[in-house]
């Protein structure tokens, strides 16, 4: 459900940048979404299809680049990828860690004509 308001934000930002670039239409939107955010690709696509008709971004393709969660163990400094719900350091088995990647949520670029 929360994808509705964030998709509206995506659309607002995209329209703003497309207008500044004097574009006729937006062909593609490149998003970056970290694994640890609660945002679902399919829902964003669903709401985009609902909200974009009638705007300069109607018919644009959404490209979503997912960033996997990467952690650094606070005990031994080992860097590791989060595997599912396993937050254990593979080296020393300490749970948790500093999040190095996975919380991204941004529009990287748009393609316009």
């Amino acid at each position: 459900m929360h994808e509705l308001s964030i998709t509206q934000s995506v659309l607002n930002i995209v329209i703003d940048h497309a207008q500044r670039a004097c574009a006729r239409r937006v062909i593609a939107i490149n998003l970056v979404i970290g694994e640890l955010t609660g945002f679902v690709d399919d829902s964003i696509q669903f709401y985009f299809d609902m909200l974009s008709p009638g705007t300069i971004a109607a018919g644009a393709t959404l490209h979503i680049r997912r960033i996997l969660a990467r952690l650094r163990c606070r005990a031994c400094g080992e860097e590791f990828m989060l595997k599912g719900s396993n937050w254990l350091c593979p080296k020393c088995l300490t749970s948790g860690g500093e999040i190095l990647a996975g919380r991204e949520f941004l529009i990287e670029s748009i393609e316009v004509e």
């Binding site: 459900m1 929360h2 509705l4 308001s5 964030i6 934000s9 995506v10 607002n12 930002i13 995209v14 940048h17 497309a18 670039a21 574009a23 998003l31 640890l36 955010t37 609660g38 945002f39 606070r74 719900s85 937050w87 300490t94 749970s95 948790g96 860690g97 999040i99 919380r103 949520f105 941004l106 529009i107 990287e108 670029s109 748009i110 393609e111 316009v112 004509e113």
Partner: protein, 218 residues
């Protein structure tokens, strides 16, 4: 043609959150965003906090809910300022909603603002409101595996309140394992063990709020 954007999708919300924070700071008000799953005990904790601190601090409450004024009505019985926000379906509060609610509060006469977010462990944490502190409640009947399932909220909060500890004899909840896991994810987090039913543990939670507010005053 490719146009580089590099803009955080929540930047419009974050901008208004910053303005809300400036308004709160200007009045010396400490604002606490309280998040939990439905039924975790947000309203109960707020009611207990009012009772514990009303002789020390001038408190107001903002109640966020999808619908109804059930919670706001309960808070209103405490005779303190309360504003109900009905999100009308949205699963979290956003900064513009808080801005409208702040306009309805007597900010000049307040020290502490308790904000009850919509019951949900996923998206409230992504939307800044302008708060000073983020707190989540994890109640023991929900199980001790919540940090695995909802890591984003556990790494983002300043305090975790373990509520309903009076139910520990009846449900499986390994407090030691839970603490270890949460502290591994978020070493700076403060953890409180309380029962809003019996009042156990509320005192140290209330003391922490007073300390946090004093820190803000300095």
């Amino acid at each position: 043609m490719k146009v580089s954007v590099i803009e955080g999708i929540l930047s419009a919300n974050d901008e208004i959150a910053m303005q809300n924070k400036q308004v709160l700071d200007a009045h010396g008000i400490c604002a606490i965003n309280i998040m939990a799953a439905p039924g975790g005990g947000k309203t109960s904790l707020i009611l207990r906090t009012i009772d514990a601190l009303r002789h020390l601090l001038r408190i107001a409450v903002i109640e966020g809910d999808v619908a109804s004024t059930v919670d706001a009505d309960q808070v209103a019985t405490k005779a303190i300022p309360v504003v109900q926000i009905n999100t009308g379906g949205a699963c979290h509060l956003e900064a513009p909603m808080l801005r409208r609610a702040l306009e309805q509060l007597p900010l000049e006469g307040l020290d502490l603002l308790l904000i009850e977010n919509v019951g949900n462990l996923i998206c409230p944490v992504e939307f800044k409101l302008g708060e000073d502190l983020n707190v989540m409640i994890a109640s023991v009947p929900e199980g001790d595996d919540k940090p695995y399932k909802y890591p984003s909220i556990f790494v983002a909060v300043d305090a975790v309140v373990i509520n309903k500890i009076d139910l520990l004899p009846y449900v499986h909840f390994d407090i030691a394992a839970f603490r270890k896991l949460v502290l591994g994810m978020n070493p700076g987090v403060k953890i409180f063990e309380v029962s809003c039913e019996t009042g156990l543990g509320i005192e140290s939670w209330a003391e922490w709020i007073v300390q946090q507010r004093e820190r803000k005053q300095k």
